[in-house]
Amino acid sequence: MSRAEIFANIRRGLRRTEATEAQKEAVRQRLQQHPRNRIPARSLHEHDAQVELFIRMAQEAAAEVIELESLEQVPTAAANTLEAKGQNELVLASDDSLANLGWAEVHERIECHQRVGQVGDQASLTLAFAGIAETGTLMLYSRPDSPTTLNFLPDTHLVVLSKQDIVGPYEDAWDRLRESAPGRLPRTVNMITGPSRSADIEQKLQMGAHGPRQLVIFLIP
């Protein structure tokens, strides 16, 4: 049996059989308290500065950031953005906050669906759980009203992020995640920094490998 063999081998290397109580305690404590390691000072600032850093870093990673005055402006902004890209179809996450917006007002400009992502989808719209200023990273997670395929299959990924959900370092996002999903993580947590890319051909960077070719962030208050 491989399992027993592997563990016996590890313990032989560590020159012990069972771990001591002190060793077990050290592990328990680390897992329960999840202490933070050194966090680069770059993101440890006032919230306004974090928002500014998020925008700068996301843009550096080739994401488009569009600031809106309210969530209600999203349908029009989405229609404008897609039109500029020659697209007219959008798959929405069924999050109430997104689904209940005034999509009827733009129905002549974009056709909206609520479902999982499919091959051939032009664009999707999902809601970010957090934005991490340190590297301009979006954090999204899977749940019944926000299928993961929407984050990866469409050509254009539109993401709504509230400024209030922008944190400095990853560690702040982990704390928020633990709070919102106590006990266990959602099935998948996606950290997304800019659109898909590859440099596998001659080390020359090309955008749009397998994931979305464009990532647009609608930043709301």
């Binding site: 081998n9 590890i10 290397g13 680390r30 390691n37 999982v116 950290m191 090309q206």
Partner: protein, 472 residues
């Protein structure tokens, strides 16, 4: 893949004369080191992060059994299964069985060096299951019947024309010399495969004990499509990749992309914790983690334990003058460069891999850039010692070392020899300061000049200074 490490010398000689390979390696040398340096310069805390990562990895290794047990328990709570595999064969059989349970015909694959290590693709094909590599570089290699020559830039040994040729042959479309067009072609071709696959196999960069999650890091998004669309997701990883918490994972992620590609952060960092939840509309129904040992547990508590800190960033090979000259395939197995020269002897035996730890100038650049401070030159030296102890070193090396030991343990004789050798060298140099031909050392002088000694030997200078100091 077949083991060709014993042929390192011939492979290296051919590689040095391969103009296309040298052109491709130029892309590596022009890219990675500069990008890493720029990324590191933006984080003043970088050296401190390296220290912490070094210490944390050591803590993990001291408690490896405990963290692995925690990881397993959490995976099971999340609805997944963990399979422990001592050998490559165990891992192959385990994966095959899961595939058969699903009646799998097609398997999509995210980039995974552990699946290279266990030779998974060939094995699946032999068993009538079609593996489809989805990372762009790996896809190119699969079409060409080739293997990765680098752990994060697998097709670094190829040029645009090679890719264009391979796509033209397999996709039956006109050739293109535009990388963007070629990538769009691969995207289109692979879209169908992602949806058709019955099983998706990915690797894992980290295993998080706290949450029972596996994490993959990609820039393309292929790993995410691989693990989201099929009914079954198999993660193939190795036991040393476990980390305690999400905070600890973040420490390593701050080092990984910067050390590897010089990015601030890779585009997609994705945590997977078990199978599809009730009411979820997508995601795999089955979640398996196959943990491969393959000699790693044997390294715990030995002089090679430091190697288990490796996070597979590739900085060591990106900065290695030997790798940069001969490319990854010359090393003759899965892991090339300095990290490969330490790992390969462990996995395939020093008998077959003895030339690899010798293929180093010990310039120390690898250790200098390693994010977890692995003393790679020291570990290569340990392998050289083992090789010598096992009487595997070539006769010339053994005779040379015995001759040197004979002289070195007889100081008078040694001084006599070194001062006369120094004179002879100067004579051969004829005032040019270099020797272009030296008897018995053509291996050196064919490719570079040997500098001649510039003055007296160390001992001569020492004696003179001692005398001077004694004079008032």
């Amino acid at each position: 893949m077949d083991i060709k490490s014993p042929e390192f010398k011939q492979s290296a000689r051919i590689a040095l004369q391969d103009a296309n390979l040298q052109k491709a390696l130029g892309n590596l040398k022009a890219g990675f080191p500069g990008k890493r340096a720029a990324a590191v310069a933006r984080v003043p805390e970088f050296e401190e992060l390296r220290d912490q990562a070094h210490d944390l990895k050591n803590h993990i290794l001291e408690h490896l059994d405990l963290y692995l047990e925690e990881f397993e328990a959490r995976v099971v709570e999340n609805g997944g299964q963990v399979h422990w595999c001592s050998t490559s064969e165990d891992a192959r059989q385990t994966i095959l069985q899961i595939c058969r349970e699903q009646n799998a015909k097609t398997v999509t694959k995210g980039k995974s060096m552990v699946t290279e290590e266990i030779n998974l693709n060939e094995f699946l094909e032999e068993n009538d299951i079609r593996p489809v590599e989805t990372d762009l570089g790996e896809y190119i290699l699969q079409l060409r019947g080739d293997h990765p020559s680098h752990i994060i830039a697998p097709a670094i040994h190829l040029n645009l024309e090679d890719v264009s040729e391979a796509f033209h042959e397999h996709h039956k479309r006109p050739k293109s010399d535009d990388p963007a067009e070629l990538m769009a072609e691969a995207r289109e071709m692979l879209r169908k495969q992602f949806v058709a696959a019955d099983v998706g196999i990915t690797g894992a960069n980290f295993l998080v004990a706290e949450t029972g999650s596996t994490l993959i890091v990609t820039n393309e998004g292929n790993g995410d499509l691989t693990q989201t669309l099929p009914k079954t997701h198999i993660v193939v990883s190795s036991i040393e990749k476990v980390v305690p918490t999400l905070e600890d994972m973040s420490l390593f992620l701050r080092l990984l992309a910067r050390s590897a590609t010089g990015q601030e952060y890779s585009v997609y960092n994705t945590l997977s914790s078990g199978n599809r939840r009730p009411d979820d509309q997508d995601g795999p129904e089955n979640f398996h983690v196959v943990l491969v040992d393959n000699g790693r547990s044997d390294m715990v508590g030995t002089q090679f334990q430091d190697m288990l800190r490796c996070i597979r960033c590739s900085a060591c090979m990106n900065h290695c003058p030997v790798y940069g000259s001969v490319g990854g395939h010359s090393y003759g197995w899965v892991y090339p460069g300095p990290m490969g020269s330490v790992l390969t002897p462990q996995m395939i035996g020093i008998e077959k891999a003895g030339l690899l730890p010798n293929a180093s100038t010990f310039c120390g650049k690898c250790e200098e850039v390693c994010p977890v401070r692995i003393p790679l030159p020291k570990l290569m030296r340990h392998w050289r010692e083992k090789e010598y102890e096992k009487h595997l070193s070539p006769k010339a090396v053994r005779w040379g070392l015995s001759g040197w030991a004979f002289l070195a343990t007889r100081p008078r004789l040694y001084r006599l020899f070194s001062s006369s050798a120094s004179k002879v060298m100067r004579m051969l140099g004829g005032g040019k300061g270099k020797v272009t031909k030296l008897p018995l050392a053509a291996g050196w002088t064919d490719h570079r000049d040997m500098p001649t000694p510039t003055g007296k030997t160390f001992m001569q200078q020492w004696d003179e200074r001692q005398k001077q100091e004694k004079q008032p």
